[in-house]
Symmetry: C2
Subunit: 204 residues, 2 copies
Amino acid sequence: MYDGLSGWVLFFIFVLMKSTRKEEIVAVASGLFKEKGYSAVSMRDIAQAMNMKAASLYNHISGKQEILSTLIVRVAIEFTNAMETVMAEESSPINKIEKIIEFHIDITVTYAENIAALNNDWMHLEGTDLKRVVKMREDYEENFRSIIKQGINEGRLRPNHPEVILFSILSTLRTLYLWNEKRGKMDVNILKKDMVSVLLKGIV
Amino acid sequence: MYDGLSGWVLFFIFVLMKSTRKEEIVAVASGLFKEKGYSAVSMRDIAQAMNMKAASLYNHISGKQEILSTLIVRVAIEFTNAMETVMAEESSPINKIEKIIEFHIDITVTYAENIAALNNDWMHLEGTDLKRVVKMREDYEENFRSIIKQGINEGRLRPNHPEVILFSILSTLRTLYLWNEKRGKMDVNILKKDMVSVLLKGIV
DNA sequence: GTCTATAGGATGATAGAC
DNA sequence: GTCTATCATCCTATAGAC
């Protein structure tokens, strides 16, 4: 009876270790990718940062590509889900844009390194991962665009070129990850309020 | 007399060729860097795109690093000069911000690839080039920040956190280069007007 | 699960013929 | 100024001992 139990416990620990070890690698690699970019970081760099040898990494991941893919797909899904939640709501375009700004800030707080990879290294994805991420990005932008167009049509947004509005807001939100040190001192809720105010009402 | 003349002419052509050849390399490389990033582009890639062999590149440039440095320093100086011109003017903070938005659009039109390198590959610069570019970037941001603070103090800008305003505008302007295809169809002056309107007056 | 050793190929750069 | 040949080093990834 004890034997059976300890067998299961050991198996559970093994699975747990293996999975957290992979997560450790992904976490360490994401920091390096953010600093120097995917292509400039070698498996030796990642291994060194974990106090191990490059060959040992391959017991936990299939290769460098899997690290990038895990990193990017994870946060891309996060954004897709958040956008779908907003789209499903029955509220005004302005309210939806506020929600988008808020979830971008929330996701950036926990996924800064993933966002760096999504923004700067998506083109180094391969095969179906590349197609999937590009598709998610296109759908995301299309949803955002439709909200803006609706807002203009209803006369609740100023009639500027929709692409200019989309691009202005989105490029600010997408590069929020670069701003984490300065943000660190700022309360997230204050940041959200200021960001909504600046992006919606302008600065004048 | 003819001999002397043709000697000078040949020398001039030689200097001209050498310099335009270097410019050609820088131009071709900048396109590749923009697509895949500095680290993912090899000297063989650059050579192939010019229908020559990698070794031949070294007759015109000292190495890969010189290409990056040329590319980045050039556009960094462009931004620094433009900002200094604006700072020297005696006009309101709002007027200065409008000018900044406008010269960002102008520079982006001619230097899209350089800006990509400045944004994404500056960390691969070495030695004094790295220090110089980082310094120019810090000074640039500090100038922008002082304009914003003055605008808030004078009560002409809404009293949002200055860093939020700085970051929102700057991140939009810095990623304009990503937007060149869509912009291509739009008149530059209309883009400037829309951009100024969206960034200053907001969208609501 | 980590190590050493190494395969197999790419990389930045140089030497020297033409 | 471009080429071929090559160097020395780095890269991702695998094989196999422990």
